[in-house]
Point group: C2
Chain length 190, copies 2
DNA sequence: GTCTATATATTGATAGAC
DNA sequence: GTCTATCAATATATAGAC
C-alpha cells in the first residue's frame, strides 16, 4: 500500500472511528456493527483492512501511542526544566476535562477493562502506561531523585489514575480540578 | 418467600456465584451461561429468581454493600480512635493482595466498566463508593478536619483507587505494598 | 420450585461477485 | 479496493411440562 493512497486513508478512518468508540463505549461494548455505522463503510470493506476486531484494537492502541509520544517529544523539545514538564503532565489530566469526566482516562479505563478477561490485549494496552512511566522516570532523575525516580513515576501515575477514576465515577469537574491542583502542589514541593 | 427456605438459599447461591464471576471477568464479560455452569443450576431456575441479568447485578451490588457495611460497623463498634479506623481502611486495600492484583478493586473496576455504557447501573454501583465516602468523612470530622472532611474522604478514596489501578495493571504486589505504606504514612501525619 | 426446549437478536467473521 | 449476502456461534430471554 502506497503512502497517501486511498487505502491508507480508509484504514486511518477506521482506526480513528474505532478509537473514539472504544473510548466512549469500551472495547467489548463496541460492536463491529457500531464501527460499520459510525464509519459509513461496508462490513466487508473493514474486514479487508483488519482480519479481526482485536486487530483493530491493536491499531487503535498504536494510534494512541503515537499521539501521546508526539506530545512528550514536543515537551522535550521545549527548553523548560523537568519540574515544568511534570506540571505539564499533570495538566494533561484536566486537558479535556469534559471528556475525562464523561468517559474516564482513555488509558486507565482500557487497561482496567482488558485486564479482566483479555490479558493478552491488556499487555498491548499497558505499553501506553509504560510510555508515560518511562518518560516520567527520566524527568524525576533530572530532578535529582536518583533511585527514587522509578517509584516516583509510578506514584504519580497512580495519583493521576485515582483522580481520573473518582472524577469519572462522580462526574465531577470541580473535584477533578481541585485534586489536580493538589497534585501540582505535590510536584512543586518535590 | 420464607426466611431459611430452600428458595432463599438458591437465590443466595446465584448471587454469590455471579458476584465472583462479575469480579473476575467483568459484568459484560460474564454470560448468563457462565452463571449457569458455575452455579450448577438450570437456566430456567435462575430466571425464576431473577427476570434479567441486570437484576442479578443489582443483587450482587446489594450483597457487596451489605458486606462492606458490616465491616465498617464492626470497626465502629471497636473503641479505637478515628486515625486507627482510617488506617484500617487503608489495610483493606491490601487485605486480599492476590485478588486485588489479579482482578483489581471490585468497586472501582465495576464502576469504571458500567460508567462507559450502562450509566443506569453505574448509579447503583456508585452506592458502594458513597458508603465508604460517607464513612471516611465522619472519621475525618472526628479528627477535627471540619469542612475539609468531605474533600479528604474523596482524596483518600482516589488515592486508594489509583494504587489499585496501577497494581492491577502491572500485576505488582510489591508496588501495592509500598504505595499502601505511603498512604498509611499520609494518614498518620494528618 | 425444577427442568427442558426453544425463540429471537446480535455477535464476530467469511465468501465471493463486481 | 468496494459491496452484498450470509454463516456459525453466542447472547439474553421465554414458554411450559413436570
Amino acid at each position: 500500500m502506497n503512502i497517501g493512497s486511498k487505502g491508507e486513508k480508509t484504514r486511518g478512518d477506521i482506526v480513528n472511528c474505532a478509537k473514539r468508540l472504544f473510548y466512549e463505549q469500551g472495547y467489548e461494548g463496541t460492536s463491529f456493527s457500531d464501527i460499520v455505522e459510525a464509519s459509513g463503510l461496508y462490513r466487508g470493506n473493514i474486514y479487508h483492512y483488519f482480519k479481526t476486531k482485536d486487530e483493530i484494537l491493536k491499531a487503535v492502541i498504536g494510534q494512541h501511542f503515537e499521539e501521546f509520544n508526539d506530545l512528550l517529544v514536543k515537551w522535550d523539545k521545549q527548553d523548560i526544566d523537568p519540574r515544568e514538564k511534570l506540571l505539564a503532565f499533570s495538566t494533561v489530566i484536566i486537558g479535556r476535562q469534559g471528556e475525562l469526566v464523561e468517559y474516564g482516562c482513555p488509558i486507565g479505563s482500557l487497561n482496567t477493562e482488558l485486564a479482566k478477561d483479555r490479558r493478552d490485549l491488556q499487555h498491548a494496552a499497558r505499553s501506553l502506561f509504560d510510555l508515560f512511566r518511562d518518560w516520567l522516570a527520566v524527568r524525576f532523575r533530572e530532578l535529582g531523585k536518583g533511585e527514587e525516580a522509578e517509584a516516583l513515576a509510578l506514584h504519580l501515575l497512580g495519583r493521576a489514575q485515582g483522580i481520573a477514576v473518582i472524577a469519572h465515577v462522580y462526574q465531577d469537574e470541580a473535584l477533578l480540578k481541585s485534586e489536580t491542583a493538589q497534585l501540582r502542589n505535590w510536584i512543586e514541593k518535590l
